[in-house]
C-alpha cells in the first residue's frame, strides 16, 4: 500500500466509522431481531407482522406507488412546459412557482396539509366561495388521499428540478428538427425529449420512492386513522408495546420494498449499458 493510499484511508476512516456505528450496527441489530426468536432462526415475527399488518403493507405500497406515478406525470408535464413552451412569461412564472416546496420539511408540509385539506380547510372553503362546490359536497381529504397529495406536493419539485435540468442540457437541434417536420409539442416531448432524459427521471423517482417510504410525520399528521403506513405501525409497536421483534420484521419488509426500487434502477442501468455496448 502506498503512503498516499494509507493516508487516504486514515482520513476517510472516522467518517466511515460513524456510518458503521449508526447505520451498519443498528441494521445488523434489526436483522437479528427480525429473524430470530429465543436464540433460534425463526420466521415467527414475520407471521405475526403479516397477520396484524398485511393491510398496511399493501396500503403502504399502493400509497407510495400511486404517489410516484403522480409525481412522474406532474414532473413530466411541468418540465415539458418549461423546456418546450414558446410563451416566455409562462416559463418565467412557472419557474418561480414550482420550487417553493423543495426544501420545506415533511413535518411542515404535514401541518400545512392538515389544515388545508380538512373538511373546513382553505381548499374546500375556496371552492365553496367560488361556487365550484356546494357546502354539503365538501369532504375531508385527511386519509390516504391526503398522504398522496402531501407527497406529490413535497416531492414533485425535486423531480422537476432534476428533470428540467436534464432537459435544458439536451441538444436542441433534434427537438427543432421534429418541430419543423410538424410534430406537435406533446409529441416532441414524448417521442424526442423524454427518451433522452429517462435515466434522470428514473433516478429522481427511485430517490423519491425511498424517501416517501421512510417518512413518519406525514402519515401521522395527515391521516390519523387506520389503515396507515408501515412507519406509523413500527413506531406504534415500539411506543405502545416495546415490541422490537415485530417492529423489526416490519422494518425488514420496508427494506424489501426499497430493494425492489433499487433493483428496478440497477436493471434499467445494466440494460442501458448493454445497449451502449459497454
Amino acid at each position: 500500500m502506498s503512503r498516499s493510499t494509507a493516508l487516504g484511508l486514515l482520513l476517510v476512516a472516522p467518517a466511515l466509522a460513524l456510518v458503521a456505528a449508526l447505520f451498519l450496527w443498528p441494521l445488523g441489530f434489526s436483522l437479528i431481531a427480525a429473524f430470530t426468536a429465543g436464540g433460534e432462526v425463526s420466521l415467527a415475527h414475520f407471521r405475526k407482522a403479516f397477520e396484524l399488518y398485511s393491510t398496511d403493507i399493501v396500503f403502504t405500497l399502493l400509497i407510495v406507488g400511486l404517489s410516484t406515478v403522480l409525481i412522474a406525470l406532474v414532473s413530466i408535464a411541468v418540465s415539458g412546459v418549461l423546456t418546450l413552451s414558446e410563451t416566455g412569461w409562462l416559463v418565467a412564472v412557472l419557474k418561480q412557482l414550482y420550487r417553493w416546496p423543495l426544501f420545506i420539511p415533511f413535518i411542515v408540509a404535514g401541518q400545512c396539509m392538515r389544515t388545508f385539506l380538512a373538511k373546513n380547510g382553505l381548499m374546500n372553503n375556496t371552492f365553496v366561495s367560488l361556487g365550484v362546490l356546494d357546502p354539503s359536497q365538501t369532504v375531508s381529504l385527511l386519509d390516504w388521499r391526503g398522504i398522496v397529495i402531501t407527497f406529490v406536493w413535497k416531492q414533485a419539485p425535486f423531480v422537476i428540478l432534476m428533470l428540467a435540468g436534464a432537459m435544458a442540457s439536451l441538444d436542441r437541434s433534434t427537438i427543432e428538427a421534429a418541430r419543423n417536420l410538424g410534430a406537435s409539442r406533446l409529441r416532441s416531448l414524448i417521442e424526442i425529449v423524454l427518451p433522452q432524459v429517462g435515466q434522470t427521471l428514473l433516478v429522481a423517482l427511485v430517490l423519491s420512492f425511498v424517501t416517501m417510504l421512510s417518512v413518519l410525520s406525514v402519515p401521522m399528521m395527515v391521516a390519523g386513522s387506520q389503515p396507515t403506513m408501515l412507519t406509523v405501525d413500527m413506531a406504534f409497536r415500539i411506543n405502545a408495546y416495546g415490541d422490537y421483534p415485530t417492529a423489526n420484521a416490519l422494518g425488514v419488509i420496508s427494506y424489501a420494498m426499497t430493494a425492489v426500487a433499487a433493483w428496478i434502477y440497477l436493471r434499467h442501468n445494466l440494460k442501458q449499458q448493454r445497449e451502449a455496448g459497454l
Partner: protein, 271 residues
C-alpha cells in the same frame, strides 16, 4: 386574426397557472392564516379574530418554544461541527488521494439516507439506551450527523475536486509543505462548496423529526417535536407558528441555493 386565436390559449394558460399557484401556495396560506388567527371555527371561512397573541406565547423568553428553538439551533450547530470535522478530511481524500474501492466508499455514505430510516432509528435508540445516550443532545447530534454525512462528504469531495491542481503544484514548487498548501490554497478555494454543505447539514438537522422522535424523547425537545405535539394536541396556532419558524430558513435557502452551489461544483457531486 392571431390575437383572436391566441386569446383562448392565453386564458387557458393563465387559468392553469392560477390553479398551479393555488396548489403550491394554498397550503402555505392556510398555515399563515392559522398563525395569526386568535379564533377560527366553523362555519367561518376565514379567522373570526386576528391577532398576535400566540406569537407572544411562542416568543415569550421563558416559553417551551424558545427553549425548543434554542435546543434545535444548538443541536444543528454541533451537528455541523461534527460533520465538518469528519467530512473535510474524508472529502479531501476522496477528491485527491488514491483510494481503493472509492465508488463503494461514496455509496456507503448514501446508505443512511437510502434505507427506511424508522427501522434503523428504533435500533439506534435501543443501542443508545444501553450506552446512556438516549434523551441526550450528544445522541441526537450523532444521529443527525450520520444522516447528513452524505451531503457533507459528497459536496466536500466535489468542492475539493473543483480546485485547480496547478495552483497547489505552484505552491509546492515554491517550497510550501503539503499541509501549508492545503490550509493556504486548497481549503480556502473549496470553502464556498463546504459552506454550502454546512448549510445543507444545518437545515437537515433543524428539520429532522424521525431520529429525534426515537432517540431524543422525552428530554430533548426540538422545534419539529414541539410542532408535532402542538398539532396533535389541536393547538394549530402554536403548530403553525413553529412551522413558519422552520419554513423561513428552508425557503431562503431555496431562493439562494444557486449562489452557494456553483455549477462546476454541482456537476462533480457524486463523481
Amino acid at each position: 386574426m392571431t390575437a383572436a386565436r391566441n386569446l383562448p390559449a392565453a386564458t387557458l394558460k393563465i387559468f392553469g397557472l392560477g390553479l398551479f399557484a393555488f396548489a403550491i401556495f394554498g397550503p402555505l396560506t392556510n398555515l399563515l392564516l392559522w398563525s395569526v388567527a386568535e379564533r377560527w371555527y366553523t362555519p367561518f371561512k376565514l379567522p373570526v379574530t386576528y391577532g398576535t397573541r400566540y406569537w407572544e406565547v411562542v416568543f415569550r423568553p421563558t416559553g417551551d418554544a424558545m427553549a425548543a428553538l434554542g435546543t434545535s439551533v444548538w443541536i444543528a450547530l454541533l451537528t455541523v461541527a461534527v460533520s465538518l470535522l469528519l467530512s473535510i478530511p474524508a472529502g479531501y481524500a476522496l477528491a485527491r488521494l488514491k483510494l481503493p474501492f472509492r465508488a463503494l466508499i461514496l455509496i456507503v455514505f448514501l446508505l443512511p439516507q437510502a434505507f427506511p430510516s424508522v427501522a434503523i432509528y428504533i435500533n439506534v435508540a435501543r443501542i443508545f439506551y444501553t450506552l446512556g445516550l438516549t434523551g441526550t443532545v450528544s445522541g441526537v447530534v450523532l444521529v443527525h450527523a450520520a444522516h447528513g454525512l452524505v451531503y457533507s462528504v459528497w459536496i466536500a469531495a466535489a468542492a475539493f475536486a473543483a480546485v485547480d491542481r496547478d495552483l497547489e503544484l505552484a505552491a509546492r514548487n515554491i517550497g510550501a509543505s503539503p499541509l501549508r498548501t492545503f490550509f493556504t490554497i486548497t481549503l480556502p478555494l473549496a470553502t464556498p462548496g463546504i459552506i454550502a454543505s454546512a448549510i445543507f447539514v444545518f437545515l437537515e438537522s433543524l428539520d429532522e423529526f424521525t431520529g429525534t422522535f426515537f432517540v431524543g424523547v422525552p428530554q430533548v425537545s426540538t422545534l419539529p417535536l414541539l410542532l408535532y405535539n402542538a398539532s396533535m394536541g389541536g393547538n394549530y396556532q402554536i403548530a403553525s407558528i413553529t412551522a413558519l419558524i422552520l419554513l423561513v430558513p428552508s425557503v431562503l435557502f431555496m431562493l439562494f441555493i444557486e449562489r452557494f452551489l456553483r455549477s462546476d461544483v454541482l456537476s462533480k457531486v457524486g463523481h
